[in-house]
Symmetry: C2
Subunit: 476 residues, 2 copies
């Protein structure tokens, strides 16, 4: 059907990377700025991020977290207090050296992450167990000076939230680390229709300065993994480095246990790739800034515009996010445009529909068109939204499950990685084997999934005793 | 009454500046960071900002504006394209010179404001009158490297929103400039209970690069003015400098007309000073993150906590922002604490209240206490909230009006500025006279108010023909 064709973007099978960039730009999600690696979040892209913010803010606040704002700069001297942290981040920092036309004595790192600032502040506001837990979150942008960048997936600046919490006990902090991972997993299932694998990172892949890192990992249609969010348990390392102490219930001074956790605009990359097709973006309905677009057909004919406006009003009154396009562009142009933008539902009505008391609904995710009675429209849309969400989630989940391949040998590992997706392997726990897999196949350990049912005695790489189930994949 | 006394902050009449800083810290609105001039927005302070964001986002979206996000850095070469703009901002910029451990070829200015980035982006996305207007807004933080800083009022980093719009015609852009000023004025009246004087800035005081700047000006209890928000009409200056052109309805290429407008966390300073008293912060109810605090009295007595929780639940169910404090601190401590935090209403109930079927309500803004029947509590609170808001606004308005003094001579100007507030003077329009007022009295032209009814023939400074009504004041 010509209506559904948009020739202006590269086809996925021809060049998936180019398809991705085309969608980012043609769907008007972002644009490049004049600073290499820094993108502009255009209204439509930013609106998706706002939906994610709204979901997470509700969940964070319901679990007792409070928003704060820390400075965007960190003195270099302060940054160096936690050794693993600085060595992890130093290579990719942006550093300000001039302020008010004078050379700065202590150079300022533009924040790549804010553990340092939060911990320093916590040292001031925590003195008793009564002050705990402290459950803070911050919405901001951070800078990581990257050599190669891709819209949303890897950029020199990205938007994110970073939670930083302090707890009386190790157990409570560990619970927080896993609780926030669950909230991220819920975000994927409930809002983005993106299924994640949850697991723990290997020591090689964990966050600089953390004792343990957990992550949610998504799988892209090109077979590559995308780390989509992480939570970290820090133990008392930062607290000790920054002198955060509190008087415990026993009257003794001790260090609190710390976590941090974050997701970023990288999630937009996951949404685009997991659901998109050759006609452009396909948005799951709950995260879509516009859920329904109303398009009058043969709108110059009498009665069409008023009828379309009534449809618009009914849908808006029902609390749906709806847009009407009365512009003088052709219906074909409009169809392509809103396909490209991935609006989940299109409602068309023309003179004949009006005569027959019906409207046509087109579903973006599968191209289906149905005709419904005008008076049943709102009810139908309200039924379709959860249905579409479920179908999109299940399709993505099916793809994910079909691309987890259990491997028992180097050959099978190779074949699984060639096929794309996760190679599930029993691993000895030594970094040397991880390094070897990377060297041979450019694949990394994405995570040790929570489901740790052993299926081999030995590590296929070194032949030593296997200890952990690990998922290897090529990754963004 | 001992309950209402908090001795831990400086009294306003002893040292207003110290009182202000004390409230900022003791009400836990902010804390200092280890970088001079950069503050930490603590949960309670940030929550006030979130209320402002919510109000403005609604108003901005209802008037067709869309949120976007631009890079936080601006290449120095790009910044220099508009000459007035760079000369205005250069002295107070923070400049990054090292990225990924390498010296940068084009140094990066951490954004002090984003006209440059918006205009450059607009050059790419505007080509026809059909693309206009573009009505973008951004929430972010900006850097102005300041020598002397004060919490919220003047900082090296502050949070703000910056709107940047492009229009087909001069008239439409001018309308936008004034429309956004109205929204800021509404914000003061409806949410902050802070009355503003609206007017136009003199050329000396206008924004670097603007043709015209308008502002909302608030008056602090120490007699100083506080510029609380500005809107700018740029004409086509930036558009020409950055090559933004569109094909008009007549088919000819022309430059669009531009505006920008912003308010910042400085508004928190206005709220604190306009309403605060010697017991701490006093928050107007609509902007208060917590509107009602419930305090059980003699809470160890049976039945008190359950009754207090029921009160809490009723208020929360009614949509009020409410907190209950069941901690083991004394009631006196709690009273002082929530007085300090400026929570508009306190609901107390103890064993005798429960027996009598009543609760006590204390109003923060005037210290009044009333006893109401338990079953009338929600209804009473719902009535008190708009009442308190109105009383707070009217009190502030009365103070403002009493401190606008018409002056006809240098002596009267001096006397009015000594008294505090705005000296309303007829002015010749020459910058020399503005400079002279500043030199003599350290006062600046705050604005030329919209109400321009002439009352003198000559400018009291130079004796030449008077052209404009101007408000002079000492200012933050």
């Amino acid at each position: 059907m010509a209506d559904f064709k948009n020739d202006s973007i590269t086809r996925q099978e021809d060049d998936f990377a180019q398809w991705y960039t085309d969608v980012c730009r043609k769907a008007e999600l972002m644009d490049y700025s004049s600073v290499k690696g820094f993108i502009i979040y255009r209204p439509y892209g930013y609106a998706i991020w706002e939906q994610i913010q709204e979901y997470l803010n509700k969940r964070f606040k319901a679990t007792g977290h409070e928003n704060v704002y820390m400075p965007m700069v960190i003195p270099e001297s302060l940054f160096q207090k936690e050794k693993d942290h600085i060595s992890g981040f130093a290579p990719e920092t942006l550093i300000a050296t001039i302020g008010g036309q004078n050379e700065l004595d202590d150079r300022l790192i533009i924040r790549p992450t804010s553990e340092v600032l939060f911990t320093e502040h916590y040292a001031k506001v925590i003195s008793s167990y009564r002050d705990l837990p402290k459950l803070y979150n911050q919405w901001c942008s951070v800078i990581r000076w990257e050599k190669t960048t891709r819209p949303f997936l890897r950029g020199s600046e990205f938007l994110w939230q970073e939670g930083h919490t302090m707890h009386e006990t190790e157990e409570e902090a560990r619970t927080e680390t896993l609780k926030m991972l669950e909230i991220y997993d819920d975000l994927g299932r409930d809002l983005l229709a993106v299924p994640f694998v949850k697991g723990r990172k290997t020591d090689k892949e964990k966050f600089a300065g953390a004792e343990e890192t957990y992550s949610i990992e998504a799988l892209m249609p090109d077979g590559k993994g995308l780390q989509s969010g992480t939570t970290h348990y820090f133990g008392t390392g930062f607290a000790k480095a920054f002198g955060v102490q509190f008087q415990g219930r026993d009257g003794k001074l001790t260090n609190p246990h710390q976590t941090s956790w974050g997701v970023s605009t990288r999630l937009l990359g996951a949404i685009i790739m997991v659901h998109g097709d050759d006609n452009g973006l396909v948005l799951p309905p709950y995260v879509a800034p516009i859920q329904v677009v109303v398009i009058p057909i043969a709108q110059q004919k009498p009665g069409v515009i008023p009828a379309a406006r009534e449809v618009y009003k009914d849908l808006a009154d029902a609390g749906l996010r709806v847009k009407i396009d009365e512009s003088d562009k052709t219906a074909g142009w409009k169809f392509s445009e809103y396909e490209m933008k991935g609006i989940p539902l299109r409602v068309e009505l023309g003179p004949r529909d009006i005569e027959n008391g019906v409207v046509t609904i087109a579903k973006r995710h599968n191209g289906e068109k149905i005709s419904v009675k005008r008076e049943e429209l709102v009810e139908t849309i309200n039924r379709l939204i959860p249905e579409i969400h479920k179908e999109m989630y299940e399709k993505a989940l099916k793809y994910l499950l079909e691309h987890v391949t259990e491997v028992h040998s180097v050959e099978e590992l190779n074949a699984a990685l060639e096929k794309g997706g996760y190679a599930k392997m029993m691993w000895c726990g030594e970094q040397a084997c991880e390094d070897k897999v990377k060297e041979m196949f450019q694949a990394t350990a994405r995570c040790m999934p929570f489901n740790q049912i052993a299926f081999d005695e030995t590590c296929p790489i070194c032949g030593k005793k296997a200890k952990k189930v690990v998922l290897f994949a090529k990754a963004y």
